[in-house]
């Protein structure tokens, strides 16, 4: 039972890391390879802020800083390249990942850093006859809050409507007079802000190193492809499913655990090439 909860924690972590990618892909039809780099940058920013002002301030500052960076990214990278093949943006953001890694290594050094969980969540919670770290439960709660918040925002606000419309069919949405460039700065900012937020939330669970961004992005890719690239429900289900299977894999077949998410993905793509909840091409 504890293992199932651990799987939920990992799934929540995957969801938080990946959902920003889906948001940006939905509106811009580009894959942001630097997403993992932004996640890492968010973790480092919060590391520094938390050292002075505490964890929660770190969370807010890092999400805000990354959102600002996202707005710049949209203005100076995504928008000028909007007419190009999406591969171009993929490659450019891939190059950006290298730059971000170098910046982080220069500012924070290349040694591993660790972040303590906030004191209020540093304890353990008794559960199923054993105890469970409170912070890990918080990760699940945070994922649920973000998922619910996004769902409400996407269903009830005008921009949410644009985002949903655009992720179904960006061309028709544009023809209906929706200024996708106008809303995309905001949407990309939220997407990268989520990267910063998830980086911060993940930081007490991971050791921070400049190369972590490259590895996180791989897990995110598996999740979003399985989920169907544009679907918010899809990415949530995919993250939880993969989190669960991966975690059970670690318990029972540790050598092959890293293959488990791929096996799930291969299975899903064989049955549904467009992903769990994808809308075809």
């Amino acid at each position: 039972m504890i293992q199932v909860i651990n799987g939920l924690v990992y799934g929540s972590f995957l969801y938080l890391s990946s959902v920003g990618l889906v948001l940006i892909f939905g509106l811009r039809r580009v894959t942001n390879f630097a997403h993992g780099g932004l996640f890492m940058l968010g973790a480092y920013v919060s590391f520094t802020v938390a050292a002075y002002l505490g964890f929660w301030a770190g969370l807010v500052v890092s999400a805000a800083a990354l959102a600002l960076l996202g707005a710049l990214l949209d203005r100076f990278v995504f928008r000028p390249l909007a007419q190009e093949d999406p591969i171009v943006t993929l490659l450019v953001t891939f190059g950006l990942l290298f730059v971000i890694e170098d910046v982080v290594r220069t500012v924070w050094g290349k040694n591993f850093l660790t972040v303590p969980p906030p004191s209020i969540l540093s304890g353990v919670v008794p559960m199923f006859g054993t105890t469970f770290p409170a912070y890990r439960l918080f990760v699940i709660v945070a994922a649920l809050i973000i998922a619910a918040g996004l769902a409400v925002w996407l269903r009830s606000s005008r921009i949410g409507l644009y985002v949903r419309a655009s992720s179904v069919d960006p061309v028709t949405t544009g023809m209906q007079g929706v200024d996708t460039d106008g809303v995309s700065a905001l949407v990309v900012a939220i997407g990268t802000g989520l990267a910063g937020l998830s980086g911060t939330i993940a930081s007490p669970l991971l050791a921070l190193s400049p190369s972590m961004g490259g590895y996180i992005i791989i897990d995110c890719f598996v999740v979003v492809v399985t989920g169907g690239l544009t679907s918010f429900t899809g990415v949530f289900i995919a993250a939880m499913l993969i989190g669960q299977v991966h975690n059970l894999g670690i318990v029972f077949v540790p050598e092959l655990a890293s293959m488990m998410p791929l096996a799930i993905m291969a299975l899903v793509l064989t049955v549904r090439p467009q992903g769990l909840a994808g809308a075809g091409k």
């Binding site: 591969i87 993929l90 490659l91 190059g95 290298f98 170098d102 590895y215 791989i218 655990a257 890293s258």
Partner: protein, 337 residues
């Protein structure tokens, strides 16, 4: 009127292409000669080591670039084939399953087959999903060799037991930079020659047609998945050859040969060199290694520099350095006229 006929792959090339194929032979002989002379001219062993590494990198980049050129997709996972080939030779040395020559053959063929089978599925996906999947699959393979310590001693890597003679040559030939450079260079030239012929064949043109417009190619009666899967397989075989050269030269292999950062380097070399021409990625590899060596002397920020260069080339010179060279040559020609 008539049902569309699928011509066989690698059908006879049209006469126009065949005439320019005549240029290939002298170009290859000249390049081979240049490679054989190089160790005589370059006496510094350090330089020769660097050059050998660069040429092995060039083989990997040529594989990545060929896929970009023919299929129009970017692979972030070619290290999988490179590293897998290296590990096949290494594991054969450990368990002594077959003669090393046979293992080398297997090390090229098996990755090609795996790529073909995987390719049948993943080439259908949109280009972005394709890129993401190549990365994920390669990284999973990396994890296996990293975690499965009994098989390949994980992170520590494994020393590779090689026989004293290989293909009738003393094994030292493959491990001394001066002679290994010639071997790697010759393999690279041959690969480029073969890929050049394939790119000009019916099959090569068909894949380009599919790259340009898959739907239209299908409407005029071509099967479109198989050619792309074959191209993917071919480019995997090239990367695997790079892995074979790597393992023969170093006689040591670590999971780093499978890591995504190596795949990324291959892609960077291919983009910087320019994948429009077959030899562009190889040129990119050589630039990459010279640049890396030079930058290492005066700055710590090699990574940021290469990242920025990569971005600038992608946006402003999508055909890479080789594209710029062509542009320059055609300008000079126009001026001479």
């Amino acid at each position: 009127m008539t049902a569309p006929v699928n011509e066989p792959f690698l059908a006879v090339t049209p006469p126009a292409a065949r005439r320019s194929n005549l240029l290939l032979a002298p170009a290859m002989i000249a390049s081979l000669g240049l490679g054989i002379l190089a160790p005589a001219i370059v006496s510094s062993p350090l330089m020769l080591t660097l050059m050998t590494q660069a040429v092995i990198g060039a083989v990997l980049a040529t594989g990545v670039g060929f896929l970009m050129r023919q299929n129009g997709v970017a692979s972030f996972g070619h290290a999988a084939f490179f590293g897998l080939a290296a590990y096949i030779v290494a594991l054969n040395g450990k368990f002594g399953l077959m003669p090393t020559e046979a293992a080398i053959l297997l090390a090229v063929v098996l990755p090609a087959i795996l790529a073909f089978v995987a390719g049948l599925g993943i080439v259908r996906l949109p280009a972005l999903a394709f890129s993401m999947l190549t990365l994920a699959v390669a990284q999973a393979l990396h994890e296996i060799f990293l975690r499965w310590r009994e098989l390949a001693s994980g992170d520590d890597g494994m020393a590779v037991r090689l026989p004293s003679t290989l293909f009738g040559l003393d094994v030292a030939v493959f491990q001394r930079p001066a002679s290994m450079f010639v071997v790697c260079w010759s393999v690279l030239v041959l690969i480029i020659g073969v890929l050049w012929l394939i790119a000009r064949s019916h099959f090569g043109l068909l894949t380009i047609a599919i790259r340009e417009n898959e739907e239209r190619a299908r409407y005029i009666g071509h099967e479109t998945v198989l050619p792309r899967a074959l191209t993917y397989s071919l480019s995997a075989a090239v990367a695997a050859l790079g892995g074979v050269l790597f393992v023969l030269y170093n006689a040591f292999v670590t999971p780093e040969t499978l890591d995504w950062s190596l795949s990324g380097e291959g892609l960077i070399m291919a983009v910087i060199g320019g994948a429009r021409v077959i030899w562009g990625p190889a040129l990119g590899a050589i630039i990459f290694f010279i640049f890396k060596d030079a930058a290492g002397d005066f700055t710590e920020h090699w990574q940021a520099i290469i990242g920025m260069t990569f971005i600038l080339v992608t946006v402003w010179a999508p055909n890479g350095v080789s594209g710029l060279l062509f542009h320059l040559v055609s300008k000079l020609k126009a001026r001479a006229r």
